[in-house]
Symmetry: C2
Subunit: 558 residues, 2 copies
């Protein structure tokens, strides 16, 4: 008899539910439920390009719509029974926190704050707290160097404390009405398992460790003295936070009768502790030590794991090194690019023509050879997450001529993201984390072989593609299966679950030596622009950049 686990994957614009056979990895049902509010689920403010919020009600509506839809699809199969679903796992974007009251209820549900943007969920890509991020970095480097060392040396405006501090500063009414702040990765499992009291809520070590300066080494979340040095009001928030955070091998609780009824599932099945989408994407891609998993979507996460029984140096510029943030007994290492698919979408949107969408531009860009456009771009349209950790960087295109057509720019943008990916890989390796294998996952990986070939050529490594087209949801389902465990007919370990539930496609993208050689030359130029525009105090004479590009172009056109 088959057993199933459900993965719930909360993305930027929608939530996906995936029903997976825990013994075969077969994905028997899935449904995506778009969020109803704002612009594709994101609440924006025309006056502030840094702002991005979400309505928490969208998540609740989305759970019901996506799970019921996925079960409906699964139900069309002979022998499927929703009562054979044995566990639920949850992944979300992050750091995506929201303010809640003492009963764990979102302030956004309070009629006083319903229309207040600051009381909503602060989406990962909200950068309104950039000044506070700089302040936290400064203060930590003065007072608590160790806090920074594990998050790459710079605290980001995308993260937990930057957002809370910014809210306190710009909107004391909301900021002071918040009893505590909760990542949605923690809130969703709490909702499904009926945990109202914030003190009872099991916070994810993935969210806490990567985004909130949590580490067992210094007793959990940052200490009160440090937080008080930033803002006295943070001390009260600190006191609402637990001493311990949990990894995804542990249950957040059991599905309530009420939610079981709404979803058509058995009550009491375990719900795993939540984690971020990328981390469970790595699980869904079959991550193991030496494997770099790149989750490529609007942005990327570049994840690796490394055994905790060996010493690991701090790696400057990484988003974080967090024990058990991906799997138990392994360090989780997170890097990432702030925008990838978003850059391609921006360009297509700017052209604004139905005849020049991704498909047409990809087809035309693919006909070009490396170097022939004479173009080079910096992929910083949404800042640089790794290795510069600087949201106040911007995109650049150099090499434009009167003859430059859109497909050349499209290709240059693709290449720029590949160069950015190579910078990250080289940073891992420079600090002793060897990359033996690359597995890409996420929509672009499955849909765009041209881009994957550019990545293979630029990175100089074979690129494998995760078998599942919805790796994050699959990884979440793996955690649902693992927390259910043999007691419910599930697997006895992550190893066993990943062995049976995950895999890669047969197609492997191998680097083409000729392309690789040109890209090595272009990467040298990329690196110089990267340092010249990204690293304060760097010294570089860039006068030959445009000319070398033209030399490469002329050779490529020969």
């Amino acid at each position: 008899m088959s057993r199933y686990a459900i993965g719930l994957d909360f993305g930027t614009n929608s939530v996906r539910a995936l029903v997976v056979d825990v013994r075969t990895g077969e994905e028997v049902g899935t449904r995506v439920a778009p969020y109803g509010s704002g612009s594709a689920g994101v609440l924006l403010d025309a006056r502030d390009p840094h702002l991005a919020r979400q309505n928490p009600q969208d998540y609740l509506d989305g759970i019901e719509a996506s799970v019921r839809g996925a079960l409906e699809e699964a139900g069309s199969r002979d022998g499927f029974d929703a009562r054979d679903v044995i566990g639920i796992g949850v992944d979300t974007t992050g750091s995506t926190p929201m303010p809640v009251d003492a009963g764990g209820r979102p302030l956004a549900f309070d009629p006083r704050f319903r229309d207040e943007l600051n009381a909503q969920v602060w989406l990962w890509k909200d950068h309104t707290g950039y000044a506070e991020a700089a302040e936290i970095t400064r203060k930590a480097s003065e007072l608590r160097g160790e806090y920074l060392a594990k998050c790459g040396g710079t605290y980001s405006s995308e993260w937990f404390w930057s957002k809370i501090l910014h809210c306190l500063r710009v909107d004391p009414e909301v900021g002071e009405a918040a009893y505590t702040w909760v990542e949605i990765a923690d809130w969703i499992p709490a909702v499904l398992s009926g945990t109202d009291d914030p003190a009872e809520l099991r916070r994810s070590i993935c969210a806490a460790g990567h985004k909130a300066m949590y580490a067992e080494a210094w007793g959990g979340y940052p200490d009160e003295e440090f937080l008080a040095a930033l803002d006295e009001r943070l001390v009260a928030i600190r006191r609402t936070l637990p001493d311990r955070a949990y990894n995804v091998s542990e249950p957040a609780g059991a599905l309530t009768e009420e939610w079981a009824g709404r979803l058509g599932l058995r009550a009491g099945i375990p719900v795993a502790v939540g984690a971020f989408d990328a981390h469970l994407g790595a699980v869904g891609s079959g991550v193991s030590p030496g494997t770099l998993v790149k989750i490529i979507g609007t942005s990327t996460c570049d994840l690796m794991i490394a055994p905790m029984d060996r010493d690991l140096e701090d790696i400057p510029g990484l988003c974080g090194i967090v024990p058990e943030s991906v799997l138990p007994r392994q360090y989780g290492l997170e890097a990432g690019q702030s925008a990838v698919g978003d850059i391609f979408n921006w360009f297509v949107g700017m052209l604004g023509s139905a005849e020049r969408g991704h498909e047409e531009l990809t087809a035309a860009a693919e006909r070009l050879v490396p170097g022939e456009s004479g173009l080079l771009a910096l992929d910083w349209h949404n800042g640089n997450r790794t290795i510069l950790v600087d949201q106040r960087l911007t995109g650049l295109v150099v090499g434009l001529t009167l003859a430059t057509p859109p497909p050349e720019i499209y290709r240059a943008l693709v290449e720029a993201t590949a160069f950015g990916a190579r910078i990250i890989m080289e940073r891992y390796e420079a600090y002793g984390v060897k990359v033996n294998r690359i597995v890409n996952c996420g929509g672009i990986s499955a849909k765009n072989p041209f881009i994957m070939q550019v990545y293979a050529d630029v990175m100089g490594r074979p690129i494998q593609i995760s078998r599942s087209p919805q790796t994050c949801a699959l990884g979440a389902a793996v955690t649902g299966a693992v927390v259910a465990g043999p007691e419910w007919g599930g697997p006895s370990s992550f190893e066993e679950a990943m062995e049976s539930m995950t895999g890669v496609q047969d197609t492997v993208f191998e680097p083409i030596p000729g392309n690789r050689a040109v890209y090595d030359r272009l990467f040298t130029l990329y690196r110089r622009l990267h340092d010249a525009f990204g690293v304060a105090g760097s010294r570089d004479d860039l006068a030959d950049v445009m000319k070398t590009l033209l030399d490469i172009r002329d050779e490529a056109r020969r």
Copy 2:
């Protein structure tokens, strides 16, 4: 009784004829005749983006169509009589030379070479000779420093000897079949006045001085020893060139019976020696010492004159300082930007949407305030003519974000061309040529007040606009009137002719102090990118460029 002069203005895509009343400046008839060959009159080669040629037959067809059309329009007025046309002036693009045989006949008319691109006219913007230009610069700096000093220190790929040398190198058959090479500024007046023998042809000092290293100081064109050091075959070409070149106060000859018949004019009226469009555009804009005339079209020319009775330093990076290239007894000083309107056209073409043409983008860009886009561009999409004299530079845009819309880029491109214009103005002034007045002319000047305001704000000077919408053709007509002179009922001097035939519009664009202040900050950044990407050996730490742009943006949006 009224007297008229005709100006013939040979542009990149068409020829315009203008019939002007020599006493009032009234423009009584005009007609534009597009060239029939290639892409909008330009012969291209898909394999080589540097190549741009023209078919000389297009010019001959164009003379007839444009003059007859202009006379037809003039003829609809009471009392107009084509027999009252007393002189013809000619301006053309340049350096735009072509190979001719010993009878002065274009090789392109020889059936052997009819389909050979190298036997056609080499249009000003043909950059195929960039390697030869570098070779000429190198050789001249070794052997004849004085040759370079008067053309800004670098010999351009757009110019006479680069093109001839490149032709000899890549196509010896055409190169060696050429008896000599003739600028079309010289060929058109020769055709109209029936001068077949190349030895009799009066070559323009404007073309010779600015583009062919001609100067009385060293006995005219470059000496044989120097040319032989480049290529022995140039010596034969040198021997076909005259000892003396002519300014536009002198006639090239008199209109032949045949052409008089074809055009409907009196035979025997004088045809002035030709000059380049920009130089006669300066005349048509009423140039005088201290006035900077900017002819703004697909590219720009930035012209000044300075009395020859005072010493004038060499000005590095200028296209040329040539005695009498604009007016008699004055140095003509030429600078320019390799692309201006062409950059805006490129961007509009890339968007490729009827709803986002120049008008729509201008309207949207005008609603932005300086600095609010966070963007900065380098206007080098077609290289940099002044002050870097380097065709192998390319365009750049920095500051792109996921929220950057097309009007912000359009405005950044406009601003980049204004910064480029300011660099030129400051170069003039740094070498003692004070700019007391700026007069803009050319299509963009008349049609786009938004762009003119940006120029006033960036340059920090009031901007006047030439009264005539076709200043180059008007300047050509002025030369036609002057060579006719009192004998034919025309003016007795350039001063008299310009006083009655030229003028500026009432509207003056004054710098807006607040805009000026922001643009001063942006110009500082522009200058740093300019030097970092354009000047070999420059040393600059650019790491703050993107951040300063964002600071300026945030202040602008406040």
